[in-house]
Symmetry: C2
Subunit: 246 residues, 2 copies
């Protein structure tokens, strides 16, 4: 077991002040790995000012182009959303989510993903997560500042780390990585097309989204992903008995 | 029983951005009563920008000259401190403190006091509080941004309010008000002088500070303050048998 690694991923943050404030909030709660996906302004003097004594965390922040890159090598992924978009997602209270993340980070790096200030995360981005984090708040004004949300999650992670209530079972296989899940989804989508399966649900949610969401809720490990991939390959081979899967 | 009132008191905040961010953090967690003691800049465009949709909380903020004014009419008072100055104070974890504050606010308005960004609260200011709030944090970098501290306390208050674990006993007398406590301290100090009692402790803490701190830890109600005041008056009368207490 390696020492737990928990990434904080900010997707497309608009205000550099929030990046700095997030870095400070992280260091206050003993987190150090910050990943920025397409930040609008970075590096930036305002970010540095707001980071205060967390200039080391800010300086070590990785800047990447896609969420997939940010999640490379990660096992458990949790995402935050201010909107009520809970259809088919697993929604977990931030306190319980923190306990899960800390436990999962014993097995493989975990990540918490935060969306842009005004727009949040897209459905596709949310679907990279095993669970969505719910921060209890005033129904009449539930929109938290981005860095404040980072602070609250980091605080609960710090508490969960200090007093773990969920212990990861050491015999369990590692969670499937984010890349692995994306490959599974792509494979699934390809097979849906090959078998000419169209969305017949009336839910308004695209079929593939539904599938991504329930598979994320399942928190699949690597072996389980392999089983599904094997099944999908078998379906393809049955339709194309003459050739191997491409 | 009236609906609970919990004041957030910021003493001498330097950065107007923090005032606005604190107002937003409060509204996100269903708090509305903000009191500012000698803010350096207020009102201010930066405060308004950071308050975002909490412009109502910001607009209704009271500005006062002293902490005593801010605490007028309050029962239970908790203060935050980033420094380790726990000598003789009651130190309570923020989660437990939130439960106490919510319970106490059923009896009389309660308050949470935050100090200035760089300097925090003075010892005298801390001594207006029944308890000091400890926010768990990274020992290597425990200094939280002011508005972040407001956010964490407000969040725990919101949770404590949603799921109360401590119920105030309805038969108990109301906590002594902050003004009442200050009058008790002044009376005590006067008597110490009259009886020519000098500090003989080696603790480095001024005698009157010691007394204030242990009396605050006691969480005295109005009747208990009256008992002490009566005792002090009796001491004075015994020394001046000819005249009434002035």
């Amino acid at each position: 077991m390696h020492s737990p690694e928990i990434r904080v991923v900010l997707v497309a943050p608009s205000h550099p002040g929030n990046i700095g404030a997030a870095a400070r909030a992280m260091k206050n709660m003993a987190l150090s790995e910050l990943v920025l996906v397409r930040p609008r302004h970075f590096p930036d003097a305002e970010a540095t000012a707001r980071a205060s004594g967390a200039d080391d965390v800010l300086g070590a922040a990785r800047v990447v182009g896609t969420l997939a890159e940010a999640l490379q090598g990660c096992g458990y992924v949790a995402a935050t959303t201010s909107r009520e978009r809970d259809q088919y997602f697993r929604i977990v209270d931030v306190r319980e989510a923190a306990a899960r993340i800390v436990a999962a980070a014993q097995r493989a790096p975990a990540a918490v993903v935060f969306g842009a200030e005004r727009t949040g995360l897209t459905n596709e981005e949310l679907e990279t997560a095993h669970a969505l984090i719910r921060i209890p708040a005033n129904d009449a004004y539930a929109s938290l500042n981005l860095a404040m949300a980072v602070q609250l999650v980091a605080y609960e992670l710090f508490r969960a780390h200090a007093q773990p209530v969920i212990t990861s079972s050491p015999g369990a296989a590692p969670l499937a990585s984010a890349e692995n899940m994306q490959r599974l989804f792509a494979h699934f989508e390809q097979v849906l097309e090959e078998v000419d399966f169209r969305d017949r649900t009336q839910s308004g949610t695209h079929l593939m989204s539904r599938i991504r969401r329930f598979l994320q809720r399942a928190e699949l490990d690597h072996n389980e992903v392999n089983i599904l991939r094997g099944f999908l390959t078998a379906v393809q081979n049955r339709r194309r008995p003459a050739g191997p899967r491409t």
